[in-house]
């Protein structure tokens, strides 16, 4: 993979603890949380809970969700959507794991809830 696809290499997969997360600090922009729910799966979300902006990177990762440390919302890692009964969405960034390395696209993916009419975008 080359950088021309707007992908940037972040770290080795092992740099993120299994069932854990790391925060990616950026000079100008907001933090991104990287999660590793399974050995070779990594997801990235904006490090801001849709509830009151809690740092999702500090939550407990289990199954396909992370539990926000501030008030316990569960956020789906693959879509950024809050699990019912809560409603909201954290911005999602595409991630690829290649040869044990984590690559991230810094262009946020389309909002997972954009097509769901019930959800206020």
């Amino acid at each position: 993979m080359t950088a021309t696809e707007a992908w940037v290499r972040v770290c080795a997969v092992e740099d993120i603890p299994l069932l854990g997360s790391r925060v990616l600090r950026r000079a100008q922009d907001a933090d991104i949380a990287l999660f590793r729910p399974a050995a070779a799966r990594v997801f990235a979300l904006a490090d801001r809970c849709p509830h009151k902006g809690g740092p999702l990177s500090q939550g407990i990762v289990s199954g396909d969700t992370v539990t926000c440390p501030l008030h316990g919302w569960n956020i789906r890692l693959d879509s950024g959507l809050a699990c019912a009964p809560d409603a909201g969405c954290a911005r999602r960034y595409p991630v690829q794991v290649r040869d044990g390395e984590v690559w991230l696209s810094l262009r946020p993916a389309a909002r997972a809830d954009a097509e769901a009419p019930a959800e206020a975008a």
């Binding site: 950088a3 707007a6 069932l19 990616l24 500090q58 569960n74 262009r107």
Partner: protein, 823 residues
Amino acid sequence: MGKPRLVVVGNGMAGIRTLEELLKLVPDMYEITVFGAEPHPNYNRILLSPVLAGEQTFDEIVLNPLSWYADNGIVLHLGKEVVRIDRARRRVVAADGTQAEYDRLLLATGSVPFILPIPGNGLEGVIGYRDIHDTQAMIDAAKVKKRAVVIGGGLLGLEAANGLKLRGMDVTVVHLAGWLLERQLDPVAGALLEKSLAQRGLDFRLGTSTTEILGDETGRVAAVRFSDGGEIPADLVVMAAGIRPNAALAQAAGIHCNRGIVVDDTLQTYDPRVYAVGECASHRGIAYGLVAPLFEQARICANHLATYGIGIYAGSVSSTKLKVTGIDLFSAGEFMGGEGAEEIVLSDPAGGLYKKLVIKDDKLVGACLYGDTGDGAWYFKQIKDGASIDARRDTLVFGQTALGDSGTGGQDRAASMADGDEVCGCNGVCKGTIVKAVREQGLFTVDEVKKHTKAASSCGSCTGLVEQILMNCLGSNFQETPKTKAVCGCTDRTHAQVRRAIGEHRLVSHAQAYAFMEWRTPNGCATCRPAINYYLISTWPREAVDDPQSRFINERAHANIQKDGTFSVIPQMKGGVTNPSELRRIADVADKYAIPMVKVTGGQRIDLLGVKKEDLVEVWRDLGMNSGHAYGKSIRTVKTCVGSEFCRFGTQDSTGMGIALETMLANMWSPHKVKLAVSGCPRNCAESGIKDVGIIAVDSGWEIHVGGNGGIKTEVARFLAKVKTAAEVKEHVGAFLQLYREEAYYLDRTVHYIERVGLDHVKQKVVEDADSRRALYERLLYALEGLPDPWAARIAGTQAREYTPLTLAPPKADRQIALALED
């Protein structure tokens, strides 16, 4: 070899609940066959009264539709009454000849209405009140007949009478005792009830026995005659004079019966292959007639049928509510008083209010409430817990509100609350929302309410109120089962079962625990993971794997997360004692890291608030102090007063004692946080009365109090022991805390733990039995020995990446261009 066969006789509430509990534990263990004499699937018998009153329909009260049986592979024989048990061949035979062989047999045949042995009791129009068939017969009779006589002024009789009246009949209730509900109410409350039912148009003949039922020429009932010679006309007679355990089938098979089918604490009959639950069973001489105890039996019985062999049924205290809309009465326990009992009575007959509490040996043993039952659930809990009420005696009768704690104060009266009143302040949930969810979604437990409405899911201080709302919606169908609830949605196992399995099967890692206990999720959830982590490390110290990813952020980072994502740092300050050089270092650190706030905590130490996560390790290094564990389910503080070294009243060196205890307990993890205090004399300046362990020095030694709590719901610590020497204090305190560490469920503070197991149990293990105390103390020291201070460990490099954010590699020129082009 095929699966063992389980045959259930009785398709009612207790039998089917046992199957539900069994299927939760072992879905595939048995081939199950059920015989039910009634031609219906299992329905909620309790709700026959609302059906009779026209408030609900039969379809609404079905608990297990036919599909449930099919889905679980259960062979169901409806409308087939078992008439014979052949124990030698291990099979049962139904009236129509259907047979089934068993390896285990469960008898759940319920009760039969007691039919008075008087002339005319077999006439057409004389019925009992037990099943939907009887209920339908009453509904049909009310359409064409006018006059009903109900024999029996108990719960069942009054509910029948109320329903028939609502359906337009003239109803007379004949009752042998001098007041209504004599088994549930005392005479005063009984009279209040009679008055309000009379206002609804019911007639009563109290203190009267029925001698004969007279028929007309067609063999239909025409009148009822009493012992005093009086007589009243009747078209329908409902016998509600009591129930008898339905044990005839078992008796005929030679299974030991004594009124009911005699069972032991595992619900096994004298034939080891045969179990019995429900109203047909007689346990320690009692046959219960309300569902809550039967459900408890079902749970224990299922556990033994599943061959888990955990749990004994030790009997139940039950409470009663009458399901007549608009009438509030509640009674529980030994409300009649009697020898050695004291009574507290609050009576306002004109206002329709009456409250009686019965106290024995400093404990609440019974309650009888009429008119305002808002505190019913609360009193019931006190009765079941058997906690001493000594400290609350003066205000007890005024109910929970009178305790004035902010958790429940002023809002505990679930019954009198309006739908728009807020119940859960954290999530803004109103009473109406909860009631609606309970009704529409058929919720039974506080947990379900939490899930569906979010009420009580945050700080939890409104849990009691939610319980009351549930109880008011469900009547005595409601079970408060904190001890028996599953850990979380990932499993059906309870905290007790999980603890036990981890201990018995030497489970030392999360993966082992989830695999062995067949967790439904691959790696748990944010609720169970921290609990399992605690159980692992407390059961197998130095052996189990402490998993940082299973700890809440505070315990993972060893600091307390704040609303803006920064952290607070509270260094250990043993006994609240510091010195100039520590203070100077704290000041320097605050300057160097631009810490926005320095505050003295409520726990006698200093808090540095607003520290950035990536600065934490450096802050700790510069402070050069140990972790205060202000973030963990762990030892927190030992507060002290100045004591005998300086104070003119001090009797012992309380400061020194506090420092010794805090040193001993350093780095101790526990089910919830643990706070101690040591005061130098009974003036108690360290507030020992509201601590998990509170020590008060007296001239002759030290008093140890346990189970206090100054938090959400203030609880005063209870006296555990008085000892002479400092060494004894350490051993007692250590042993108590180890017992708590070993036996409490995760997130139970000491007060909750003691409420559950009883102070006597604690005293037995910690005070009376010196060997047990020493062993506990040694286990604590073993668990703590060699544990590093977590801050020191992190300064030395442990878990470094937790504190280090990732950054992007300095952008190469070509990459930047590529990115720019893409944008």
